[in-house]
């Protein structure tokens, strides 16, 4: 195994609109190794790798390939230096076939007419896929592929473009355990064949099992590079999160009467798409947190949308006990009924990025008439309320109540959402991935609020792809798989059994 430097990033600086994403980041990967880049969400991993792939231009610092300094004018130049990146959000053109997508990435498509080249490429795709140990239909449109298949196409795309330095950004985030294992075995073999693989991840387990070297990033800086087997997992965690905040511990709640019954909820299949929900049955009780675990894309988003009253047609029943079916209730009516919603897509369903903190907060209670009748707005009352909520819920980084919500960091934006939703009597809480993208401290603040809501007698539904989060919070755990709840667990729950229910075929 050769141990020459494949790619080096030295002293990289990068900021976005005044926010320093990278400061003096250094990174070196060698030929023949799988090099993990480990860090929490927002640590700057993707930004650093986007610079390596020529997508972003750094403000300072240099990039060396085979110890020669190069400047990348764009992704094409990166491709010429045989760097290929598989992005976290796949970059496939949905109506195009697999072969057409891959053809786009080729610098040199070879001779002959368009059709001839395409046919030739189709054969190459099949051969290359076989070599890597999987099968791909090159004539299938990208839109018809599963997530794992799309990822394979992305990998084929960069490999067929001739990449020898392969960057994978959070490749296992969307895969089941089995799929992830297959993928990592494949890329490990690819690295051993003399290439270089960079694995961007926040999963400790992947690093420990498959990486030869790991570079830890924290808050835009590269902290340390080391052999992951040389230290314990706990130490690796501490390096990643810095001063380690103690992991939250489960605290039991006291279960009350039934609040919500979801009965055989199904998506209405639209043209060309099958419905994601295939008969969900679910009961929520006052004073409990029901955690819904599962691999992403098994219908959680659709369920959350249906419960929160976001777009998406469903049949079946969502019965709020004592009130009736919620499906036809407007979001306005839901608020009156004391339902709080914390959607996963913060700036797509909870906060208007361009509006002020005041507007974003007060919209939550405007219907109650607290800020005056329809014909007026009591400004001073609004300001008092916001100021108080910001203090109570510890929303930081507020320079002025009139500043745009977009200027808040992820954690503080989420705190603002929670402040709005919980600043009144709440009977029912729907939370979908409430701590996604937040740092440890902010996530804990969110958890504390959810527990507090439960202890105050609300029924809480927590939908999360993060099993640790579910295990920390939930009094009862359901597992969602293929649009259904396939298993339910009471405390104490067996982690292994839950994991099995998440990935089993049903």
């Amino acid at each position: 195994m050769s141990k020459h430097n494949a790619i080096q990033l030295v002293g990289i600086e990068k900021s976005f609109d005044g926010f320093k994403a990278l400061s003096h980041a250094n990174f070196t990967a060698k030929w023949g190794e799988v090099h993990a880049l480990l860090g929490e969400n927002g640590a700057g991993k993707s930004s650093l790798m986007n610079i390596a792939a020529g997508l972003y231009a750094p403000e300072a610092g240099s990039l060396l390939i085979d110890d020669n300094e190069v400047r990348l004018s764009g992704p094409r130049a990166a491709s010429e230096h045989r760097i290929g990146m598989v992005h976290q959000h796949f970059k496939l053109v949905r109506p195009f076939t697999v072969a057409e997508n891959i053809l786009l990435g080729l610098r040199n498509a070879g001779a002959g007419g368009f059709r001839t080249r395409l046919r030739k490429l189709e054969r190459e795709i099949v051969a290359k896929a076989e070599q890597l140990g999987f099968a791909v239909d090159p004539r299938k449109p990208a839109a018809a592929l599963s997530v794992a298949e799309q990822q394979r196409v992305e990998i084929l795309k960069v490999l067929l473009a001739g990449a020898r330095i392969l960057i994978l950004d959070e490749p296992t985030a969307v895969l089941t355990d089995q799929e992830a294992e297959r993928l990592l075995t494949t890329v490990h073999a690819f690295a051993r064949s003399g290439a270089a693989v960079i694995l961007v991840t926040h999963k400790m387990a992947d690093v420990i099992r498959y990486a030869d070297q790991v570079t830890v990033m924290r808050a835009g800086r590269t902290v340390q590079t080391l052999d992951p087997r040389s230290i314990s997992a706990d130490e690796l965690v501490r390096l990643t999160v810095g001063e380690s905040a103690p992991a939250g511990e489960y605290q039991a709640g006291s279960r009350g009467e039934e609040r919500l019954a979801v009965k055989d909820l199904r998506s209405v299949a639209s043209a060309g798409e099958r419905g994601m929900l295939a008969g969900v049955n679910l009961r929520l009780h006052a004073g409990e947190i029901y955690g819904l675990a599962g691999v992403g894309g098994n219908g959680q988003s659709e369920l959350a949308n249906a419960l929160m009253g976001l777009p998406g047609a469903t049949e079946g029943e969502i019965e709020l006990i004592g009130v009736g079916d919620l499906r036809s209730a407007s979001t306005e009516r839901r608020r009156e009924l004391g339902i709080a919603a914390i959607p996963a897509d913060r700036y797509g369903a909870a906060l208007a990025a361009d509006l002020s903190i005041i507007d974003n907060f007060c919209i939550g209670q405007i219907h109650s008439g607290r800020y005056g009748a329809f014909w007026r707005l009591k400004r001073s009352q609004m300001e008092t309320d916001v100021a108080e909520a910001i203090r109570t819920f510890d929303v930081q980084g507020v320079r002025s109540l009139r500043q745009k919500a977009a200027l808040l960091s992820g954690g503080n934006a989420q705190k603002l959402v929670i402040a709005r939703e919980f600043s009144r009597k709440v009977k029912l809480v729907f939370a979908h991935s409430p701590s996604r993208g937040l740092d440890v401290r902010a996530a804990q603040a969110v958890h504390t609020r959810l527990r507090a809501a439960r202890d105050a007698g609300a029924a809480v539904l927590l939908i999360s792809e993060d099993l640790d989060e579910v295990l920390t919070l939930a009094d009862r755990i359901g597992v969602m798989n293929s649009g259904r709840i396939v298993a339910e667990f009471d405390r104490p729950a067996d982690r292994q059994a839950i994991g099995k229910a998440m990935v089993d075929h049903v």
Partner: protein, 373 residues
């Protein structure tokens, strides 16, 4: 205490890349101080006016006369000032109509059609002699508003129900309305005393009175409606709803804004305002229904709303400017045989310049390292 000598490194002069090799990164800017925004806006308007002046000179207006024609003659001459204010009242109304619709994210390009229907409605009250003379004017105003709103009903319902693009539907409805107007004016509504395509003249009590010597009551009417719009947008619950609809309809829906009701009501209000503008022109300026009274107003309404950033008070000011442009355009037509299209061209140039200036408000350009070496 002696000062420390700071060693100056002269061995490595700061490297500078040649300009062409530098790479610039474009970034989205979240916020900019209001005075900078105002400055950029003013600069854009200045550039637009300068380009327009050049075009006017190229078209044969003596350069020295421009200032005289546009500023001095229109603002300092009492008669011209009357003409500008006269012109301004329907301008303000269509501008407000544009503001309201845009705030609901509705591209109301149907202001023309809504004006036509407003005017038809008002004229129908006159021709069929509905109500006693004392109530005639309020009745005309009301009918105009209702007719304008009803003409806006089709596109907004189509948009809410079927997601039909309002850009096309409102424009097509304009054509339908304008041909219907011709149908009336060449048909049953033609003035029987001559063969010209216009309705019989209104009687004095069917015409907008003067509220002050030489100044039409259209002006206070427009101002009152502007204040109403301002209060609605800025100081009522509807305004908060509208801000959410404008910022992000999905979020608005998710946080409990009655999305469809808000949009529907706002667009109907926009149509009503345009209808009133039609009434003001017919009853105030022309004194009868004519075949082309609406021309140029639809675009002006969109332009005013855009330049005023959908703010009703700013719309008042911009509408005055555009009215000045119209009046000056007419005198250019008379004195220098410049076609009236010049006014539309200048309007378009102003929009383009101001829209372009947005780029500098929304983005920042920063030099970064890069480029092939």
């Amino acid at each position: 205490m002696s000062e420390q000598v700071v060693p100056i490194d002269v061995s490595q002069p700061k490297q500078r890349q040649p300009l062409l090799r530098r790479r610039y990164a474009l970034e989205v800017r979240q916020q900019m101080a209001w005075y900078w925004q105002a400055l950029i806006l003013a600069a854009a308007l200045a550039v637009g006016l300068a380009i327009s002046a050049l075009i006017l000179i190229a078209a044969g207006v003596p350069g020295g006369e421009l200032l005289n024609e546009f500023v001095i003659m229109t603002v300092f001459d009492a008669q011209s000032l009357q003409a500008v204010l006269f012109q301004a009242s329907p301008m303000i109304l269509v501008g407000l109509a544009g503001c309201m619709a845009f705030r609901a994210r509705f591209w109301n390009l149907g202001l023309d059609g809504q004006m036509i229907w407003g005017a038809i409605g008002a004229t129908a009250i006159v021709l069929f002699e509905v109500g006693p003379p004392a109530l005639r004017l309020p009745l005309m105003l009301l009918t105009a508003a209702v007719c304008g709103a009803l003409w806006a009903l089709t596109p907004i319902v189509l948009k809410l129900r079927l997601q039909v693009s309002e850009i096309i539907s409102t424009l097509m409805l304009n054509y339908l309305a304008s041909y219907f107007l011709l149908h009336l004016l060449y048909g049953s509504w033609k003035d029987p005393r001559d063969s010209f395509p216009y309705s019989p003249p209104f009687q004095s009590f069917e015409r907008l009175p003067e509220f002050f010597h030489g100044y039409s009551a259209g002006i206070p009417l427009a101002v009152v409606i502007a204040v109403f719009a301002l209060w609605l947008i800025g100081f009522s619950r509807a305004g908060l709803y509208l801000r959410f609809v404008d910022a992000n309809p999905k979020v608005a829906d998710a946080v409990g804004v009655p999305l469809r009701k808000t949009i529907l009501a706002t667009v109907l209000l926009s149509g009503a305002m345009a209808g009133i503008a039609g009434f003001v022109i017919t009853s105030g300026q022309e004194g009868r229904l004519t075949q082309s009274f609406y021309q140029g107003y639809g675009f002006s309404g969109i332009l005013i709303a855009f330049l005023a950033r959908n703010n009703p008070i700013a719309a008042l000011v911009v509408a005055l400017l555009i009215a000045t442009l119209f009046v000056a355009g007419r005198s250019l037509q008379v004195f220098y045989q410049i076609p009236f299209s010049m006014v539309q061209l200048i309007q378009a140039i102003l929009v383009i310049c101001v829209a372009s200036s947005d780029f500098f408000i929304r983005h920042r350009l920063r030099r970064v390292q890069g480029g092939e070496s």
